[in-house]
């Protein structure tokens, strides 16, 4: 057992109890389904309720507060800044993404998980580099700050949704509205928009194949700017998960447009 100075430890030769759990009905000791639906009452393909608010940060050029079930993320876009430390003329602008988990956002209250934060910010940047018209501001960069207030699964997908909306709120030219959805492939089934419980299931043992797929798409152009896949899964399952995610993304675009139109209407009035 790992030695924890602040607690009373058992004998040194003791083992974690999870190794002895029976894996038949439950998936690694956790209920995947109850009464044919997922633990929180959803269908396999059902997405959680989500909503967003624009212009929540007055000092930012554009901002978006987005909630997806219990996942809460805030994204803010700031004014153009000269790209520091370049010597050659760059024909395209750049996006600088700073992604942070709040210390209280996850189950384990860690203040710093630099590697994962860097990975997330790279993914968000890749997604947005194909959405934003970078040729409109050569030699300049746009700062995007993303902070996760609560992590209950599908963080990358929600962050990309929020960032895309923050750019639109900032009146920065974009090729289209980018939407993103996450899916977990566990036990041969596809679960759209997993909660953090469902996401974490794949991390425990190597016995069954499980995986996590986050895919963003610009539905109006039928383009996929970003994919993030982690785990093991059958190719056929990955393909059908991709199709389901693309459909979900398309329906979300309509919902986003409806809320965006409120913003335009308010401003005109």
């Amino acid at each position: 057992m790992p030695f924890d100075q602040k607690r009373i430890n058992g004998p040194e030769s003791s083992l974690l109890y999870t190794q002895f759990i029976d894996n038949d009905n439950k998936f690694q000791g956790k209920n995947l389904y109850s009464k044919g639906k997922r633990v929180d009452g959803r269908e396999r393909q059902e997405h959680r309720k989500h909503a967003f608010l624009l212009n929540t940060i007055s000092k930012a050029k554009g901002s978006c507060y987005i909630e997806n079930g219990n996942t809460k993320i805030i994204c803010a876009v700031f004014e153009l800044r000269e790209i520091p430390r370049i010597s050659k003329y760059s024909e395209k602008g750049q996006i600088y993404c700073d992604f942070k988990y709040a210390a209280f956002s996850r189950r384990m209250r860690k203040s710093n998980d630099e590697n994962e934060e860097k990975l997330m910010s790279t993914n968000i940047r890749t997604a947005l580099e194909s959405t934003v018209c970078l040729h409109e501001f050569p030699n300049y960069q746009i700062d995007l700050y993303v902070m996760v207030l609560e992590d209950d699964g599908a963080v990358l997908a929600t962050a990309i949704n929020g960032s895309g909306l923050a750019f639109i709120d900032a009146s920065i030219q974009c090729y289209g509205i980018i939407t993103s959805t996450s899916a977990s492939i566990i036990n041969g089934e596809i679960f759209i928009d997993p909660t953090s419980e469902e996401e974490r299931l794949k991390n425990d043992t190597n016995k069954s194949k499980s995986a996590n797929l986050t895919l963003s798409s610009i539905s109006s152009m039928d383009q996929i700017p970003q994919v993030f896949f982690h785990g093991l899964a059958d190719l056929s399952l990955i393909k059908s998960a991709k199709e389901k995610i693309l459909d979900t993304n398309k329906t979300h675009v309509l919902y986003f447009k409806k809320l965006l139109s409120n913003k335009i209407a308010n401003v005109r009035a």
Binding site: K61, G62, E79, L80, E82, I86, S87, K88, Y89, C133, E136, F137, N139, Y140, I168, A170, S171, I172, Q173, C174, Y175, G176, I177, I218, S219, S220, M221, K257, L260, S261, K263, I264, A265, V267, R268
Partner: protein, 208 residues
């Protein structure tokens, strides 16, 4: 044009119309595979000139604007040197910028004639507000400016002004007395500047 019909609201990625020789994608739009798409969330505006229609999308404020070559900008002179004057661009046309941009006005670009014998200090002083035109960039983050026209040059310059009781000076705007001199109204001191020929808006409108 579309005053009587409802305004068309559009979002990034919305297809606006087909593109042919007579349609021009304006601000806030882009052209792709034979169609014109919107790239902003706002209201569509069409303007017809001769046979061409310019389609653009207008949002409310918050616009990101960078000057292009040929724009007339308002700048404040920060540092004056023998070779150049460093300025900070505060407006593009009549639109105020959120953050000032860096500009540089070189000795050769101050006026159109006799450019070898220009003395920077006799044309501009720190804290002058000038109108200048953007010329092609030489350095990366600095816009090159030129005042080589009659309508460009110093618009507002301040003289040191009257002393107040607490040992400070209230700056007083100077009055132009010729195309190369300005005078303080209180002390009657003349200072050399390259003065801009500001045309009144009525005169400009009549010209057009």
């Amino acid at each position: 044009m579309d005053n009587k019909t409802d305004p068309i609201v559009c979002f990034p990625g919305d297809r606006l119309c087909t593109s042919n020789e007579n349609t021009i994608p304006g601000n806030g739009t882009y052209e792709r595979l034979g169609y014109i798409y919107s790239s902003l969330a706002g209201i569509v505006e069409t303007k017809t000139e001769d046979k061409n229609t310019i389609i653009s999308v207008v949002t409310s404020g918050n616009k990101t604007n960078l000057p292009i070559v040929g724009d007339v900008v308002t700048a404040r002179v920060e540092i004056v040197n023998q070779r150049f004057a460093k300025c900070s661009v505060i407006c593009i046309g009549d639109m105020l910028l959120n953050r000032p941009l860096r500009g540089i006005l070189r000795k050769e670009d101050v006026r159109a004639t006799d450019i070898d014998r220009v003395e920077m200090y006799k044309n501009y002083r720190p804290n002058d507000i000038i109108l200048a035109k953007i010329i092609p960039q030489i350095e990366i983050h600095t816009y090159s400016l030129s005042t080589a026209e009659n309508e460009l040059g110093v618009v507002i310059a301040s003289a040191r002004g009257l002393a107040t009781s607490s040992n400070t000076y209230i700056p007083v705007p100077m009055v132009p007395i010729s195309w190369s001199e300005m005078q303080c109204p209180n002390t009657l001191v003349k200072e050399p500047r390259k003065v801009a020929k500001i045309m009144s808006e009525n005169a400009l409108a009549k010209q057009q």
